[in-house]
Structures are given as structure tokens and as C-alpha cells.
Assembly symmetry: D2
């Protein structure tokens, strides 16, 4: 039997544009900020003020991590195709997989299965969301995000479980671990959690490409790396 | 002479994370929403309340346009690689070029050169930001965005120029035209304007992929199109 | 300790260009076809005539599968950004993940661990490379590829193992299963096997985009799907 | 009027797979190499022996240029998402735009308009396909490609025009210039010419990712660049 081709997200006619059941001009524009709109996209409903504050803080945390592999990939792509900056952002997003941004998703999935500390420790030899090369013993983003969670009433069993696991493992609870836990507190589907990093980083990558257009570094990176990488081959 | 490898966007050490000169945990998280953070990335400064309202409305407008070619490309990509949703978003972004989202950039570039109506009409046989297949004679997003611009004090010469050109051409001033003009009112670099659509659409694409994971349509689209496209070849 | 930045693939100076230790103009151009060059990239050596025949047949098999999700994603991307056809090919490649092309890699990895039929059946509840919605009971590509393998002396234990597993499961041994086995016969690293599909499909996608530029279908697909997907929402 | 949804590239049923009118197992596999298959995709016909030799040499030339921005983008992407190597290749392709690979297309387009030297010089202030930072005064690939063109009877007015323009400008006729001219000699549509670089580079990028999986450099590149780029910001 043929599956239906159907989307419930949006429709429009000559005078109306409706997104997730809301009138875009009348109920969304001027009322929702970009983070609220993302919340609407992921949950189908408008966040209240407390949800908005926490959710915005979570995605804002993920926007900018400086000169990451993803930012470098975007800049190197822009060097070759400055007429297609959307492709440079796309190239930067392609690397947000299991190694960097994926841990947020891993944490949310893990916690959506159990918050029992013993079970968590038994099931996961390597717990996602723990450890940081630089921020030790405390990731300052985690501290601040949990502070906002307490203010807004969302600090609960998922946050506690992650803090206890981090303590048991004697590792930093990093920002991706905190955000994974907070996504559970907000009731987000773990399948949408990697998406938080993807949308946030898209914002940051636009910033990097704009800087690259004014103050380029990609060409210098390329020439320096090429010289270093192939030096041993040259006679 | 070797060009420098240098970025002024962010740095961190063991206890601090600084983005655009602001302490991320202390000055950004809980204070800026996602749209404000985007504004910070594009301009290097935090928007005031009025700028925040207008800028958020502009990017929110671009988040969701329903089942677009970009959303379809993302869903078809997710069908083949559900383990790599970031690549599905990337695929969706790759098409935000000259035909759809690029017109926002075109408007901003055009208006940054002149706001003289006669010059505009002379220089541009086909003015970007005008016309809409469905929303005629008025695009309801344009009306609402310009209303917010008036409220916040940003309705100025760029908006007026676009309205006059639309009138002269007897065409709808569409949302991309309005946003291009408003980007100029906010003093944004035209080079960053395509980025507004790219970051906004990344948010929307995550929503589409989440819907696709729950209520798939990509496989049905594929099978239906393949059957229709190759029917004439079959004996 | 800092890891080295080093690549052994290629170097050049004013008069020479050397790839994998071969002089590009003198030893490669006019001597190697594109499949041979791919073999050189993956193994570091030039294939002999038999390896060349088999390897070329394997990758050629993967070039063109008609109107696939990947081809549709590429065409829909080209619709929005015709000035950046490389991004359209990239979008098409992004979906070559676990569902479609990944099975070739799965087969090669599986067979590189064991060719014992009982172990294979025990370890893998769902054996990759088996089954086809259309080509039953025999995939004509598999028959032909194994014929070429016999001619060139490469039909061996990996091919036999896949044929026996397919028989035990009473399923078609499909082309990705055959190619995974043949990759093992040729001694290719299983980590490179998904790459066969990726490079081959890049060739095919260029063909689809060229057809799209002359005889477009993406816009019609979009409008038809959008109408069908959102019909239920409209008042 | 609704445009048709139609593709003439391929079809299949239970026992047959037909690509461009040829039986895939019977007429293509074992008969065409990967370059020939690409020629079939671009022109709809099988190349003869001379066309095959020249066309394969052209695409083989474009496969491998060492540690390019494109190869670096692919490697940096793979670092973050090793489970999605197709996305790493896609990221690498995204940068094949106007700056690097696009010049091949520019040459083919230019020569398809005129081969009159005076007109070429008048119309194009900056002629694409000329100049090389390293290979001066002669690009050894150009010399070899034109040698193959003479052998196969394809050295004609397009090659001559490019050689004369290069002489008039006192610049190296680089490989992209030679390939653009040769694409015209073979009667290829200029719209397909950027595709030659895209498909060829996909082959090369798979090679780079395989090397990265065995002998990684992306992490070291990242850490070194990040340190250098942000040093000036740290207190």
C-alpha cells in the first residue's frame, strides 16, 4: 500500500501563511524570537517564558566554538566558491557527527532510556557528555546552564543523573552533556537533539564566513598545511 | 608575504570562554536569545531591544516555507543516511542559491549602492525582491515586517525605496525584498544577508527532518517520481 | 606530543607533478583510465589488466541507478542554485549512507572478518548485500560481475561465501553484495568500499544535473509534492 | 501547464537494467571503463577508442592535486563524522566553485562563443585557464594533454585559440585551460565541463579520506591553526 505524502508543518494561500497552526505574520513575527521559533519547529508548540529562556540558552551555547574543524571546513570551502556561501555553511555542517556534536544526542538518548545511575554506569563503558580537554574540573557553560535550569524550574532528574555519573567517573560534565540532560528536562525527542547543535552551528558558521570574507585565513592555512604535509616527498 | 592566520571571534582557557569579547556564560547565556546571538555574530555587538525585535522577526520569517525544494532535498537525503542528519540539513542548505534565498542578498547589495528610484529602475531590468506567485498584491509578511520596522523606528529610506520600486513595477514586494531592505536599515553588511536565510532555514530543516523521522514521505515521493519519470522508457 | 601533518599522496614543483610516486604527465595520463586512477588512489599501485577490467566493472555498476533519492536531491538543489552545480552533486552524495550504498561497505567489513558460512549466519541476523525489491531471484548485475570475476581469475572464497549465504537465506545476492565480495577479492580495505559508490555516483549525478539543465523536472516534482503534502491542511 | 516529470537516463524491470539505451550487464559492464561511462553519461553515447583515450586523460588529470583546500575540508569533516564518509566527500566538493575548478567551465563557455583571438582578448580582460603559481612557463599537464590530443586527432581550433591567447598574454596555459579547450574539441556541452572536475575530484577525495583514516592529519591541522589564529586574543 502506498504511503501518504503528507506534511503537517505549514500551508499558505493568497493572503495567509500558517506555520504549525499559527498565523505567521499575526502570531509569530514580532512575538517569537529565533530560539522560540526553533522550539515551535521541534515541539509543535510555542514555549512559555521559562522554556524560552532555557531553550535559547541551550542553543546559544552551541553557536560559537571558535576555530573548529567545522569552521575551518567552511572557510576552506568559501575560498574556492565565494559565490555559494550556503555551500560553505553546508560543508561546515557535514562534520557535526558522532565525534563532536553527536554526544549531545547520545546523552539525550541514554537518559531517555534510564536515569538510574547504576544502570547508566553498567550500560555505558564510555558515557557521552563527560570529559573536556580544557575545561576541568568544571565546564563554565554547564554551571551556567544548570543555574538557568534552576531559575526556570527545569533542574530535575536528568540533570541530577548526569551530575552523579560525572562525579562517579571523576570527569567534567561538559556542555554537550548538560544540554543533552536539559533537552530531556524540556521533553524534547532525543532524535531532535543533534539538530540543536546543527541549527546553532549554522548561525556560527555564517559568522565565520563573514569574517573570512573580510579577513581571510583559509588560503594561508592551505598553503602552510600543504607545504608542511608534502615537504618530506620533495627531492 | 605570508598572510596572517587570525580570527577575532572567540577564545577560551581553562575557566573562561569569550565570544566576540563577551563572557559566554556570564554575559551571553540567559541574556541573549538565538536571534540576538546571530546579530552578535554578524555585527560584533549585542542588539538593543528594538534591533532585537526587528532582527528576530526577519530571521524568523525565513525559517519555514513548508515543503520547499530544500526541505525535499533534506528529506530525501535523510532517507538514505538517517544516521547523519547533519548531512541532510547540509544537503537542504546547498540549494539556497541565486534562485530562492539569494534574492535577499541581491536586494541588500542593490540598495547599498543606491536608493534613488530612477537609478534603481535604470540599473536593474529585473529588480530582485519583487513578485510572488501566490501572495498578490500584498505579501502579508512584508506588511507585518514593515509594521514592526515602524514600531521599532527602523522604517527608513531603504524600505521606502523598495516600496516605490514595487509600485513602479506593479509587483508584490515579497518577504525577501522586505528583509533585504531591513538588513540595510539595520546596517548589516550585504555580504552577510544571504546568511540570514541560511541560518534560518537550518532551523526549519531540522524541523522537517524530525517530521520525516516520525511521518516519512521521502520514500513515497521517490517511488512516485521514479515511476512517473521513467514510465515512457519501459517497453 | 604533536602528531605530524603529513600526506604521501602527491607533490609537485615547477616542472614535475608526482601522484602516488608516478609522474602524472609521463606515467599516468594516456596510460590509466579513470577507474585505474581510482584503483591507484585506493591501493597506491597501478592495477594490472585483469584488476583493471574487474575494478572498472565494479565502479561502473554503481554509476547510474536512475531517478534515485540521491539524484532527486541533486536535481532539487540545482533548481535553487544552478550557479553551483558542485553543491548539487554534494547534496546528492550526502544521502549515500547506511540505507543504500552503505551495504557494500557492510558486506566487505563482514567478509573481512570471516568467510565461514555458519559464523556469518550466526553473527548477522540481517546479512547486508541480500535482497532486492525488483531483481528476483537473480540480480543481473551480480551474474555479470561474477562472470567477469571468473574471466579475470578473481572469483574466490568471498564470492562463494556470499553466494552460499544468499542461498541459505533464499534471497537475491544483489549488486552491492557482489561488489562488497569482489572488493575483498581484490584486497581492498573495507574502509574504502563505501568510497566506490561515492565516486561512482558522483559521475552519475553529473549526468542527472546535465539532463536537469536541459529537460528540467525538479520544479514539477516540487510543485506536485507540495500540493499533495499540504492539501489536507488547507481550509 | 504542468511540466512533465521525465528522465531518459535509465530504467529497469525484473530482469533488465538499461542505461542510456544500453543493457547495463550485457553492453556496459566489462566493456566500458569508468571514464567511458562518464562520457556516456554526458553525451548519451559510447566513446570510440580515441575519444576514450583523450577523455580519460582529461578527467584523470583532475583527480589529484594533493593537499588542496577541498581535500582539507573533506579531512576536517571526516574528523568529526567518520561514520559518514560520503558527507566528507560532499564537503570537499562544495568548494569546487568559481576560484579553482570553475575555470575549466569558463574556458569551455568562452571558446563555445568564439575562437577568434582578437575577440577573445577584447571580451575577456582576465582570460580563464591562464596562469599558474608554480608551473611556469609550461604546465606539464597541458603539454601532455595536447600531445594526446594530437595522437588522437583532436588537436584543433579550440586548442590553437587557447595557445595563441596564452602566448599573447605571456601566461602559462594551465591544465584547466587545456581541458576546457579539449572539452570543446570533443563536442561536450560547456554546461557539463565543471562536472568533469567534480566527478574526478570525488575520486581523489575518497583517496584522501582513506589516507586520513590510516594516517590522520586533520586533528593536528585543527589544533595548530586554532592556536595560531586565537593566540592574539588570549591574555
Amino acid at each position: 500500500m502506498k504511503k501518504p505524502i503528507r506534511s503537517d508543518i505549514a500551508w499558505s494561500d493568497r493572503t495567509r501563511i500558517v506555520v504549525r497552526g499559527k498565523d505567521l505574520p499575526g502570531e509569530i513575527l514580532g512575538h517569537l524570537n529565533l530560539g522560540d521559533m526553533a522550539f515551535l519547529e521541534l515541539t509543535g508548540r510555542v514555549p512559555d517564558a521559562k522554556e524560552s529562556k532555557l531553550f535559547n540558552a541551550m542553543v546559544v551555547t552551541l553557536v560559537e566554538h571558535g576555530v573548529t574543524p567545522s569552521a575551518l571546513a567552511a572557510r576552506l570551502t568559501y575560498l574556492g566558491a565565494p559565490e555559494a556561501m550556503q555551500a560553505a555553511v553546508a560543508a561546515g555542517l557535514c562534520g557535526l557527527g558522532s565525534v563532536f556534536v553527536g554526544s549531545t544526542e547520545g546523552v539525550a538518548k541514554m537518559l531517555s532510556e534510564t536515569t538510574d545511575i547504576n544502570e547508566l554506569l553498567e550500560r555505558h563503558k564510555r558515557v557521552p557528555g563527560l570529559g573536556h580537554p580544557l575545561h576541568k574540573p568544571v565546564d563554565p557553560r554547564t554551571r551556567r546552564l544548570f543555574e538557568i535550569a534552576r531559575e526556570t524550574g527545569f533542574y530535575g532528574k536528568y540533570c541530577r543523573a548526569m551530575e552523579e555519573v560525572a562525579k562517579a567517573k571523576n570527569l567534567t560534565l561538559n556542555a554537550t552533556g548538560a544540554i543533552g540532560a536539559l533537552a530531556c528536562e524540556l521533553g524534547l525527542d532525543w532524535k531532535s537533539v543533534r539538530g540543536l547543535g546543527v541549527m546553532a552551528r549554522a548561525v556560527g558558521l555564517v559568522g565565520h564566513i563573514l569574517e573570512e570574507s573580510r579577513q581571510p585565513m583559509a588560503e594561508a592555512v592551505w598553503l602552510q598545511v600543504e607545504e608542511e604535509a608534502s615537504r618530506h616527498l620533495k627531492p
